[in-house]
């Protein structure tokens, strides 16, 4: 049976970000290309969230492992490149909810221009209050910022907007 790109994409919803296990790589927006040959050879292209993301190779392996167990798949290749440059607007609506479920304030949609006040105006993922302050735009991973909610008096992390 000839597999479709959609068959592959469906399977990739099962592959989660190794550092944020609530969000799939598809919803994160980093799956930028899928091709299936007549003989069911599959090639998947990924784009890095951050150039220095240490999970790049792990994500390639997770993608390859998931596709290999699809019935009828022949050879699998996964490559990472910058042909499409990732930005946080590429995270799906489902993905934004998944980030929040993990306790991360989702990034605001942006128009290609980001200043610190954009980050300062972040709603608390726990209580929803906007009475928060940005502690630092750098966090425990490259994609996170650190905030404090003055309403529920908790520190929280945000997934920072990237252009």
């Amino acid at each position: 049976m000839k597999l479709s790109e959609e068959n592959i994409r469906e399977a990739l919803y099962d592959v989660k970000d190794p550092e944020i296990p609530t969000i799939s790589l598809v919803d994160l927006g980093i799956v930028t290309g899928i091709s299936v040959s007549d003989t069911n050879d599959v090639n998947v292209q990924l784009t890095p969230t951050f150039a220095g993301c240490p999970a790049l190779r792990i994500m390639e392996d997770l993608v390859a492992d998931r596709i290999k167990i699809i019935d009828g798949v022949n050879n699998v290749t996964v490559s990472t490149n910058f042909d499409v440059q990732w930005n946080t607007n590429m995270i799906s609506e489902v993905g934004l909810k998944a980030l929040k479920k993990h306790g991360l304030a989702p990034p605001p949609r942006h128009d290609g221009y980001i200043e610190l006040d954009v980050l300062s105006d972040t709603a608390c993922p726990y209580c929803g209050s906007r009475n928060t302050t940005l502690e630092t735009p750098f966090g425990p991973t490259l994609c996170r910022s650190m905030h404090y909610c003055k309403n529920c008096k908790q520190a929280f992390e945000g997934f920072k907007p990237v252009t």
């Binding site: 220095g52 440059q85 200043e115 735009p137 750098f138 490259l142």
Partner: protein, 257 residues
């Protein structure tokens, strides 16, 4: 690379080497703040920026690999100081926080402008990377700008420390823009508009900010750019850094960590 003739390839390699080496070395220096930052947040900030820079350098080394150079690990870990093309600014030890902060400010604004220019490069693989790096470096310049502003407009001690650090660092920063022999080739090939244009745009972005914060840019009559790094002439600080950075690789090149 259809559009490249041999001269274009040599010019692109020269450009890639200096950018990648700058990033690898400043990344390593930034990482030396891990555990030592004056605040926990600064510790994390410099560590994150180190990770960004080293990650960014790897993709530039990958482009060099595509142009026929050795693989990224080999290029990063097996060269001696005289084979590096970084500017002296990035190789100096971290010193006190005031020096590291001013260096970070001057260097990252230059990188921001450089990658902005390269986003329109005719060398499409480099342009794609530049468009990506711009967004990441935006966080570096925001960070540098926030702290330079706070400290330059803070206590008497913090003001004088910022001013002294700026005085000591300015000529090193001008060394970023040392021209190479391929400036004309890069321009005519549409790869890069050149160091002179970059320097002018950098001054247009940093000088008004520094002045706004009450800092005095050294008088132009005293400007003496510190050159040599792009040609492989370095301070005595680079080789010890490389020896430390490559220690594990030197013991076991196949080590995985």
């Amino acid at each position: 690379m259809d559009f490249f003739n041999e001269d274009h390839i040599a010019a692109a390699k020269d450009l890639l080497y200096k950018m990648a080496d700058d990033q690898l070395i400043i990344g390593h220096r930034n990482s030396e703040w891990t555990g030592l930052g004056p605040l926990l947040e600064e510790d994390i900030a410099f560590s994150s920026m180190a990770q960004d820079k080293i990650g960014q350098s790897e993709h530039l080394y990958e482009l060099l690999h595509q142009l026929g150079e050795s693989d990224p690990d080999n290029v990063a870990f097996t060269r001696n100081a005289d084979q590096f093309h970084c500017c002296h600014l990035v190789e100096w030890p971290i010193g006190e926080y005031d020096f590291s902060l001013i260096r970070h400010f001057l260097f990252d604004f230059a990188e921001a402008v450089r990658f902005d220019m390269l986003a329109n490069s005719s060398y499409e693989d480099l342009a794609k990377i530049a468009r990506k790096y711009r967004g990441e470096i935006k966080y570096h310049t925001m960070h540098a700008n926030t702290w330079v502003q706070q400290l330059a407009t803070g206590s008497d001690e913090s003001k004088s420390r910022m001013q002294n650090a700026l005085n000591e660092t300015w000529n090193l920063a001008l060394g970023i823009f040392e021209e190479g022999k391929y400036e004309d080739t890069l321009k005519t090939a549409g790869i890069f508009e050149g160091e002179a244009v970059l320097k002018r745009r950098w001054m247009d972005s940093v000088i008004p900010l520094l002045e706004k914060y009450g800092l005095n840019v050294p008088d132009e009559s005293t400007w003496a750019p510190v050159y040599g790094g792009r040609q492989g002439f370095h301070t005595g600080h680079l080789q010890p850094l490389l020896s430390e950075m490559t220690e594990v690789y030197a013991i076991d090149p196949t080590a995985d960590w």
